[in-house]
Symmetry: C2
Subunit: 321 residues, 2 copies
Amino acid sequence: MKLKKLYTFINSELDLIEKALKEAMQADNPVLKEASMHLLQAGGKRIRPVFVLLSAKFGNYNIDEIKDVAVALELIHTASLVHDDVIDNAELRRGAPTIKSKWDNRIAMYTGDYIFARAVELMTNINKIEAHQVLSKTMVDLCIGEIEQIKDKFNWNQNLRTYLRRIKRKTAILIAVSCQLGAIVSEAPQVVQRQLYRFGYYVGMAFQITDDILDFTGTEKELGKPAGSDLLQGNITLPVLYALRNERLRKEIIDSFDIKNNKENMQHIITLVRQSGGIEYSKRISDRYLQKAFNILKELPNCQEKTALLNIAKYIGKRKF
Amino acid sequence: MKLKKLYTFINSELDLIEKALKEAMQADNPVLKEASMHLLQAGGKRIRPVFVLLSAKFGNYNIDEIKDVAVALELIHTASLVHDDVIDNAELRRGAPTIKSKWDNRIAMYTGDYIFARAVELMTNINKIEAHQVLSKTMVDLCIGEIEQIKDKFNWNQNLRTYLRRIKRKTAILIAVSCQLGAIVSEAPQVVQRQLYRFGYYVGMAFQITDDILDFTGTEKELGKPAGSDLLQGNITLPVLYALRNERLRKEIIDSFDIKNNKENMQHIITLVRQSGGIEYSKRISDRYLQKAFNILKELPNCQEKTALLNIAKYIGKRKF
């Protein structure tokens, strides 16, 4: 089952958004244009635009208006990936070389800045100050999340709470806000705006936990980057946190990191984490968030958009990449 | 004569802005807070807030409203300096260590992102979509300017037009927009909005050319960073462009750059540029922009704010740091 099959009824709108994304990345400067388009062309699930559109259907849906919101959210996500890759010194993203590996870190930083600015610019087509307030607050949170992630790198003593707060800022809020802004801009009832925000938040948490699981269970081909990349960068995710609870595994994992060539040890560490029960534990936590998302949907009026949201949430719980 | 003496009648408002700048930089994360405050505390002329306030006096001046605009513009300027320092690998800014030298480039990048986001967030207190449109467009231009600057580094074949377009995007537009937004938000007449924009643009061009001159005529103490820093980074500014027109100097300057230890040659190159007449030439170009700024002021109604704008423009033509 492919994700896209779950919302074929917005296919033509998604095509419009794909076109608008390309338009937003146009620039006279050839490097800027190529660098911006580069990541866009490598694909991505466009899950944020999908959530914007589906949520907007709970109000007065106007594609001309909502399109800009959907594009802006995908751009903000893209910009944060570009800056992420600078930080992680990553070579691959979505199976393609990162901007920093194809050009350099300076180009990557300003390309990210440029994409952020274009997102803000696009949003100014929306004459609803509340939408701008919600989005700018989200951008602030995203930055705080990134700084927290740097701070927490290789910190073997962090706990579940630190992890959850970090993925909330890093991922869940932007997905929650995608749903919320769809509802705000289409002037859906306030109670629906809040419900959709919470739905997005829970789905976003499950989405990131699943991502963190896949880093240990996926293949390089499925992930578009080597398995174990997160841990190699020092990002201690939920499966690892669980494994660290076991004193023997804790010692073995941390000791492995003290050896210089981490890449060679990564397969060994991946095996340790898998054997620890950390994958199953993380799946249980992810499922708990998904259950909360399902519960919220029950409060929303029945429609094909609600069914699509339900199926996307279910898909996230099962996805392989 | 000190710059601040030219507009003592807005002293109390500037104090408010200084306070608001500090408030905007508050963050729970200690690194983020310290890194953000760091550059702010190192000072700066706050010329953009001054232009916002003075321009707003040509309309219905409301300090509670205009304050956020003034703070947002200073924050955007600050954020761009933070990202600038990442690119330039600079060690000193305003006489203090840069964020990247005190922490690292990753922290500097996200601190810049955070300050940008805070600026956008603060602007959402202003319920005038036109103001958001102008500002977001400016942020896009700023990024393009930065990328152009990277592209033009060590490009000995660039011309006057390339240089002027670059400093327009890098500096002049943000100063022009400071004046324009002061006028827009205070609802000054549209003709005044346009005049103030143009005034700011011309002053901004003169300001950056003067900055580029000072890099060759100032002392390390006056500049807060070593003289010749721009050229050392590969930024070819107006005095150098002029010197490069002379075939002998051109050869000597470019040859000096081919030798590994640039710092030792810098004093020699500074001397060459000074002897070329490039300083005087740049002053003439700067004065031409200032004259255009003066001419626009003649069209504006007489008031103490106009006198202050005139004196600031005069000051910029003479400033030593």
